[in-house]
């Protein structure tokens, strides 16, 4: 018969306010974004939604910081059993699975449009009513024209892959090298090596984001390449934009790991948090390699 001794102790925290704060933060973020987009559509210059979104972001930032701090504190107090550790490991697995499916969907959309839809509309197979809807359509990629150029102007020109995108590829690849050096530092028990290379990785990550912001500004203001510039602009910004969001998440993860490393939280045989963040950074780098190859270089 089962008794208390049969099972490991499973720590359950009590009376936490953090889930309520998280709910409020998520609500404000979504409500603020919706409000802001509606005001943008209506042509309003200033929207109260921006402030609501900011409040939601700050609430979420505070909640996540407090939550992670609490989890780290509980871990250091050794309140977690092996079963709890396994729960975190599996949580990481499902998170990565969702990330793979997320990017799989966007890459899938890109391949589907480029390999099939562009030709179908151009007359391969049954063209159907497309000739009536889009007279004079020429199947090509990148598809810079749109069916209604007045309402949705197409891009005038496109970004040269061998300048800013190449710089970003080198930046991200170099950051993967430096995070690997930091990884080896942690495994050798060399804290200075860990901190130095990790700080450099974060600097490369921030540099990547600055270059991407500059690239977007260039695309919008000089090339007419916008999110509304037909399927080409849409797939470009959806893929690279969400990738940029993931670089931001990865950079934040690494900043947290740097803080923990400086506090001496890691040892060669207890560093799952760092290894998971490091792996995530490599994942983001591989996604970028896919973008660089399939979106920029091997296209058409």
């Amino acid at each position: 018969m089962a008794s208390d001794q049969t099972y490991e102790h499973y720590y359950v925290p009590h009376n936490s306010r953090l889930p309520i704060f998280a709910s409020i933060g998520i609500f404000l973020t979504v409500f603020g974004t919706g409000h802001m987009l509606n005001d943008m559509t209506a042509g309003k210059e200033h929207s109260v939604g921006t402030w609501i979104l900011l409040a939601g972001g700050l609430t979420m930032g505070f909640t996540l910081f407090s939550w992670f701090s609490k989890v780290i504190e509980e871990n250091h107090k050794k309140l977690y059993s092996h079963q709890m550790d396994r729960s975190y490991v599996w949580a990481m697995s499902w998170f990565i699975f969702s990330e793979v499916m997320f990017f799989g969907a966007f890459f899938g959309a890109l391949f589907y449009v480029r390999m099939f839809v562009v030709d179908w509309i151009g007359g391969v197979g049954h063209r159907g009513p497309s000739d009536m809807l889009w007279p004079g359509y020429t199947p090509e990629w990148p598809l810079l024209d749109t069916p209604d150029p007045k309402q949705f102007p197409g891009a005038k020109e496109a970004i040269d892959p061998w300048h800013l995108p190449l710089v970003n590829t080198i930046l991200l690849l170099t950051s993967s090298v430096t995070v690997t050096f930091a990884h080896h530092g942690i495994k050798e028990g060399n804290r200075n090596k860990l901190i130095g290379w990790l700080a450099l990785t974060i600097a490369f990550g921030i540099a990547f984001l600055f270059v991407q912001a500059y690239e977007y500004h260039h695309a919008y203001t000089e090339l007419g390449l916008t999110l509304h510039a037909g399927i080409f602009g849409t797939t470009f910004f959806m893929l690279t934009g969400f990738h940029g969001a993931h670089v931001t998440i990865g950079t934040l993860m690494l900043i947290v790991m740097l803080g923990r490393a400086m506090k001496g939280h890691f040892s060669p045989d207890n560093c799952f948090g760092f290894e998971a963040a490091s792996w995530y950074w490599h994942f983001v780098d591989v996604v970028w390699l896919g973008l660089f190859l399939f979106v920029y270089v091997l296209g058409s």
Binding site: D85, V89, M92, S93, I96, W141, P142, L144, D145, G154, A155, K156, E157, A158, I159, D160, P161, W162, P165, T169, I170, L173, S176, V177, T180, H183, H184, K187, F232, F236, P268, D269, N270, C271, F272, G273, F274, E275, A276, S278, W279, H282, F283, D285, V286, L289, G290, L293, V295, Y296, V297, L298, G299, S300
Partner: protein, 73 residues
Amino acid sequence: MWLKIVIVVLFIANLVVLSSAFYTLMVDQGKAGKRTANLLLLRVSLAALLLAIVAWGVWSGQLGISAPWHHSA
């Protein structure tokens, strides 16, 4: 054509090694051993090789800028 095949193979190798590193990360759970760190080192080496081959392909003219972004409307 063979250059593009090499590039795609190297990209797939990146995915395979990254997946292997994820497996060792989950199994080892941050405990002793450098399996994950070594696999990630291999991963980034493959990525550097891939980028070097792309650069060589462009430099030698075997890899044209055939697609996106470089066209004018």
